[in-house]
């Protein structure tokens, strides 16, 4: 059997090509690294955290961080007003923030893509009605609508996630619709239709995979926005309820101590900021890697 070996290099897989462009963006790689660290900390919180997030040690109320005057090394980032270890609470808090981001993005991507596909594929009256409904949602400031929705549903983490997902929905619908509209008249779609592909096949298997790039970028941005919004709702007292170690809720509890104990306010916010920056850096990298227009330049 004579096999002629012609090609010496394998064609790049999709992932290899993606990683080639993504890794050129140093910020994105850094963001990914930070995100992975936070993810690992969140998953292994019970093993990593030095203390329980809820045990109150009455001997060390508002203890300063280890490096500040009067701090103890056992409580590296200090303690809060009821003597709970702030570092441990932050590590457990990462679970909530990442979970919120994940649930919100999953909910709003699935429903948004579905609705956007329908609007973009069928056009006509269906499209008009869907887009008007999205306009209505967009007419409210996102945080206000989320706040009022939570007031209707009742304060709490689950309801906050539902509210934020709903507020995020129009972005995904609009994006999907625009992408579908530009794809559906292209030759490969028409060819597929002529070959006898049904509506569902056309929508989900032919068109959708070619609209994914902007959706992935938007999903990343929505992930960080969801963390911020959930923290804001927690801060306003409408998100996760105390004593949940959610970062925004921790900030709300810490507010009255801002003049006496800077650390109870500083660290939860820093945790939010670092997480959001890491995700946004990844988002920028994804955009560079997935946007064919930018690739050429």
């Amino acid at each position: 059997m004579a096999v002629a070996e012609i090609k010496t290099t394998k064609p790049q897989t999709g992932f290899a090509e993606f990683w080639f462009y993504f890794s050129r963006n140093k910020g994105a790689v850094m963001g990914l690294a930070i995100f992975l660290i936070i993810l690992v900390l969140a998953i292994f919180a019970p093993f990593v955290a030095p203390h329980s997030p809820s045990i109150q040690n009455r001997d060390v109320l508002l203890l300063p961080p280890a490096l500040a005057a009067g701090g103890q090394w056992t409580y590296f980032l200090g303690t809060d007003a009821v003597g709970r270890d702030i570092l441990s609470r932050l590590i457990y808090g990462a679970r909530f923030s990442l979970f919120i981001g994940l649930v919100v993005v999953t909910l709003s991507v699935i429903s948004g893509v579905l609705v956007g596909l329908i609007a973009g594929y069928f056009r006509g009256r269906t499209d008009t009605i869907i887009m008007r409904v999205m306009d209505i949602i967009l007419a409210f400031p996102s945080l206000l609508l989320a706040l009022v929705l939570v007031a209707v549903l009742g304060p709490g983490l689950v309801n906050a996630m539902i509210a934020i997902s709903l507020v995020n929905l129009p972005h995904f619908v609009r994006l999907t619709r625009a992408a579908v509209m530009s794809e559906r008249t292209k030759d490969y779609v028409i060819a597929s239709r002529v070959a006898g592909a049904g509506t569902l096949r056309l929508m989900f298997l032919t068109i959708l995979p070619n609209c994914l790039a902007p959706l992935i970028v938007q999903a990343t941005l929505a992930f960080s926005a969801a963390i911020l919004d959930a923290a804001a709702l927690g801060f306003l007292g409408m998100g996760a309820q105390p004593p949940t170690p959610e970062w925004g809720t921790m900030l709300a509890e810490a507010r009255e101590f801002i003049q006496r104990a800077w650390w109870v306010v500083t660290f939860p916010g820093l945790a939010i900021l670092v997480t959001v920056i890491a995700i946004n850096l990844m988002g920028d990298g994804l955009r560079d890697a997935l946007d064919p227009k930018l690739k050429r330049s």
Partner: protein, 334 residues
């Protein structure tokens, strides 16, 4: 152009109806008895309950109630607060100038710093200056502003003692409300030190509220400038021997600003969402704090009316931005 404006207006009508339907159903979706909620009372005799049902018109069919509500909206009746009994529209009108003043200052700061920062970053693309400016913008863009406000209070108000923590002006000054803008009213009053006091109260909230729009505008300006700087007409302008300042400031920037203006228009919603947090942190007596307080006081008539008013305002501002955009960029009119 007129057709363009009317076209946009026609689209607004269904959106307005939808928004009113949401505001209308909000109060009816709340768990609990609507009469108890609306009257704010806890215990009630059945006769009084029925009487109030009738008084509030809740015993009529839903669609009649909705049309009645719409009729009220058209004549400027947005309901009255359960707590203060004052009409919602009056409170809105009283508090809105405070939010408007804060938002205007924030957007002015954001534009005045964001556009130059974006232009410099684009012109110096790839240098340390570009990287640091965009690094700062990324931090600003990712900022939880409620935390940012608390940090600024800790440092500037607590540690340095430079700025006051809450309110719009020192209690020492009192003057009639003319424009509703504290900066202007304090100047008109002629009281020594009043203007300075108003400024000192305004600085921190403005910085907090401007943070995200500033970062967004800087990033958008940079990418728009980068796109434009590669165009043929910029090269032509350069080869004509124009100064770099003129090429960048006049030829490039003018075209790069078109998407930036859209971005600025889109910041209206961002500003109002930010105002909710900023006003809560700084006890700024505007509509953001008013809405949050009403949610907590369960003053649902105010929440309902406020939702409607705020949404209507955003729709009108978006319409104005759209029309202005049509003027600047004639291509989108068609």
């Amino acid at each position: 152009m007129l057709r363009f404006i009317f076209g946009r207006l026609a689209v607004l009508i269904p959106t307005f109806l939808g928004v009113s339907l949401i505001a209308f159903s909000f109060i009816r979706l709340l768990p609990g008895d609507p009469v108890m909620l609306m009257s704010g009372e806890r215990v009630m005799a059945p006769e009084r309950h029925a009487e109030l049902m009738h008084q509030l018109g809740l015993d009529r069919p839903m669609y009649v109630q909705y049309f009645d509500y719409l009729g009220g909206l058209v004549t400027g009746d947005f309901g009255s607060s359960i707590v203060t009994k004052r009409p919602v529209l009056d409170d809105f009108m009283n508090l809105f100038p405070a939010t408007l003043e804060l938002s205007l200052c924030a957007i002015i700061v954001a534009v005045l710093l964001g556009i130059p920062a974006g232009v410099i970053a684009a012109v110096k693309r790839g240098t340390w200056l570009d990287q640091s400016l965009m690094g700062v913008a990324l931090v600003g863009y990712s900022m939880p502003i409620f935390w940012w406000g608390l940090l600024l209070i800790i440092f500037f108000s607590g540690y340095l003692g430079w700025t006051p923590v809450s309110g719009r002006i020192s209690m020492m000054y009192f003057f009639p409300q003319v424009t509703g803008f504290m900066l202007i009213d304090s100047l008109i009053s002629g009281q020594a030190g009043a203007f300075k006091s108003a400024v000192s109260y305004l600085i921190l909230p403005t910085v907090v509220l401007a943070t995200i729009p500033l970062a967004v505008i800087a990033r958008q300006t940079r990418s728009a400038m980068l796109e434009v700087l590669g165009e043929d007409y910029v090269r032509t302008a350069r080869s004509k021997g124009l100064t770099p300042f003129r090429v960048i400031g006049v030829h490039a920037l003018r075209n790069a600003l078109i998407p930036v203006i859209t971005t600025i228009g889109l910041q209206v919603g961002v500003l109002l969402a930010g105002a909710i947090l900023t006003e809560t942190i700084f006890s700024w007596p505007g509509i953001g704090k008013w809405m949050v307080d009403s949610v907590f006081k369960r003053d649902y008539q105010v929440v309902q009316g406020g939702l409607m008013l705020i949404a209507a305002m955003i729709m009108i501002i978006n319409l104005i931005v759209d029309v202005l955009y049509g003027f600047i960029n004639p291509r989108i009119r068609h």
